[in-house]
Point group: C3
Chain length 315, copies 3
């Protein structure tokens, strides 16, 4: 069977792709593992609306019923949101086993890129990518997202890597893997909840049309993905020093309670939520909506580029 | 020249592939570097018989006379077994140089996968894969097997990674590389000589037909290899704590004698053989035969899947 | 657009490629960032002459005016040399952004390989490749050159890795990545300024025709690049212990002055230049010319192989 035969694309997304209209992919672990029902459903619906308000069609991606579902909506989106944390979390290594088992699964950055690319979608909005975990010099715990970015020609709009990670090492691996890290309106690589990480992006662009050019060129050259780092809006940003202190406190708590590696990320996110009186989640939702807006802008610019060419030159 | 032009496939294997019959690849460093002649020849012949007894055609792979040989048998197998440790050991980096020099070489997991895939064989039985060496946080010594698994669509049936390795780090790199680690009839990732390593597999399957589905799907999706972890039979298994103590003792011995990196693996295997009164080798042979049996089952299920489809749908 | 549409190939190089004549690619960060104007222009011209004297056509590669320029010469070479250190340094992650911005950039080993391969050039001469930085167990600072070598079928002739790097770890990563490291007339992996690093190559070849066979075979097999390690000529070599002591001294100096990671390589090269009374630069130029000569020999042997075949068998 061909890879495409595993896709179930919604009629709206299929029509948009066929007509060369702008489409923005969305991941679903934020729905299944990011927050409880019905808050997750509300968030997902709002993010989709932001993409529509900015001229693009949203395509939420998940693995359901043995299929790669692109454009999950209505009852299926409700079912995905209700399943929540009891759904699987599909990293690249899990995809085939989950399809065979017919399980419902939220897709990570890596698998959302993979499925988006298969469906012909080139722009994807998320919160923050996975990366190199703190302590990875001893544990070797590095997200599959960094490999996927080196291989799959999709533009991922994020607010940096999740800042419980080791940002410096994450940027080093991205460089080794040849992944362009573009700052949208910034020279600084953002730190998810905060606007700055103390590290620089590779290249700054202030215009989504230029970013669309880079995305098109990476695809032309067979060079893999593009990471667009888009800082959280000032009004929603947390203070870099304050949030870093909360992260450090959460990490100390994990060590004292002997929290093991697999359980660490959910533990840290929950502790940081508590330590910030819930502000970390408010900021998280704000930055995802902000990324959806910028991703829509890039998708619109990309569609305009393609429609400006004679049909025979379309990718 | 095309890649396939370097292949010399035996008439029996060629016929089986043409007719869509089940074929199982076997590596040859276990023959050249695993044990002395004529014990190695006897082991190789027995493993091939296990595959035949379970309904598949064995295809021992080696590099000989400037060719990728698939289905080494008769005089050639005798020659390979007699050459033994004076043969080269062909990792991916060695393949082209060895072909040019016309040297005889045993193939590792990585190069057996590469050649099997080139020949159209999708299932391969071995003892244990290479992985991340203990101390790799300082030495960066990581087997090329882990890269090959991320790239080449072959199902490798093993009893875990060789347990002189760092199992936790090996599993982390497999996750980063997007390789599915499936447990056959087990939730635990086995530790080669022992049935448990203290780490979990990604997904458990109790039926070879389901594993065959995953293998077919990985190939359809262009996603690289599948690692099937198949624990050593209970009757042959060594006690996890006892064998780990022997490994630790062997490592201390290597440190005291100042054994360098390249000589370390053969030194450790020899010491563990001595420290277990030869039981480590008996267990090694038992687990290889057990893997051959499971691999044959997967190959038979895969062939049945393919023959169930109209000819035009065959891969 | 196709990847090839980004190429601007000089008439001389285009003609040579069309006629199957030997061509050797050259990188340009040595021009932009390796030494000041006009010394860099003189060096570049001399290296091109060495290639011509040995029967091949030189193709200096750079990114200029939004194009991949292959065979930079005349006014463009002058402009590149004059721009010098104010030019960008194009690693794989920078390529698309630099094309969009229309910036002038020297190409590293990784991007020169990428562009050479796109243009149909299979042999490339440089000084030393990038690799694993000393301290990378903590910083994760590993050059993109090592990934490009695993992927792109170009033969890179060098005098080893720049010896401010961690040579042992660099060789381990090359092994993991499946890259053949061939010694030309040597069993020892050279240490850039010195003829020996204390580490072995994978395979020694004394005849460029055999190396050409390996290069052709890697391409046939879809296996990525080949690293040819060619020691600096005896007359120009520095004493291994003496230069290692200078490197250690330079590293201590960097630590004392708190030189940060990004600024470290240029700082070290400048300090080593001073500590060796300029001999490090003299040696650097000598080894580049020596690599150009060997690369020309390999390119000539490769062209002879191809022209010996009927036209229909040409790659
Ligand atoms: Mn992980
Ligand atoms: Mn190794
Ligand atoms: Mn670096």
């Amino acid at each position: 069977m061909s890879a495409k035969s595993y896709l179930s694309i919604s009629p709206e997304v299929k029509k948009a792709l066929a007509e060369g209209k702008p489409v923005v992919a969305l991941e679903s672990t934020i729905i299944t593992h990011g927050m409880p029902y019905p808050q997750n459903l509300e968030m997902a619906t709002n993010v989709e609306q932001v993409i529509r308000d900015n001229g693009a069609v949203p395509a939420t991606i998940a693995i359901m019923d043995g299929r790669f579902c692109v454009g999950v909506s209505g009852e299926d989106l409700e079912r995905l949101a209700q399943t929540g944390g009891t759904a699987a979390k599909a990293s690249r290594r899990d995809v085939s086993a989950l399809l065979v088992k017919g399980e419902i699964a939220g897709t990570t950055v890596a698998t959302t890129m993979q499925i988006a690319s298969l469906a012909g979608i080139h722009v994807f909005a998320t919160g923050g990518i996975g990366g190199v975990h703190r302590g990875a010099e001893d544990t070797f715990d590095i997200s599959a997202d960094l490999e996927e970015l080196s291989r799959t020609p999709v533009c991922v709009v994020c607010a940096g890597a999740k800042s419980i990670l080791d940002i410096a090492k994450t940027l080093e691996v991205l460089e080794t893997n040849g992944v362009p890290v573009l700052g949208y309106g910034t020279d600084d690589f953002p730190a998810f909840w905060a606007r700055q990480s103390g590290h620089k992006v590779d290249h700054r662009f202030d215009d989504v049309a230029d970013i669309a050019k880079v995305v098109a060129m990476q695809a032309d050259l067979g060079m893999g993905g593009v990471l667009v780092a888009n800082p959280i809006p000032e009004a929603d940003a947390l203070d870099p020093a304050a949030i870093e202190a909360r992260i450090a406190e959460a990490i100390r708590g994990a060590e004292q309670e002997g929290i093991s590696r697999k359980a660490l990320t959910p533990f840290l996110l929950k502790r940081i939520f508590e330590l910030t009186d819930g502000n970390s989640l408010v900021a998280n939702i704000a930055l995802v909506e902000n990324n959806a807006k910028v991703a829509a802008g890039i998708a619109v610019a990309l569609a305009a580029r393609n429609s400006a060419k004679p049909a025979t030159y379309r990718a």
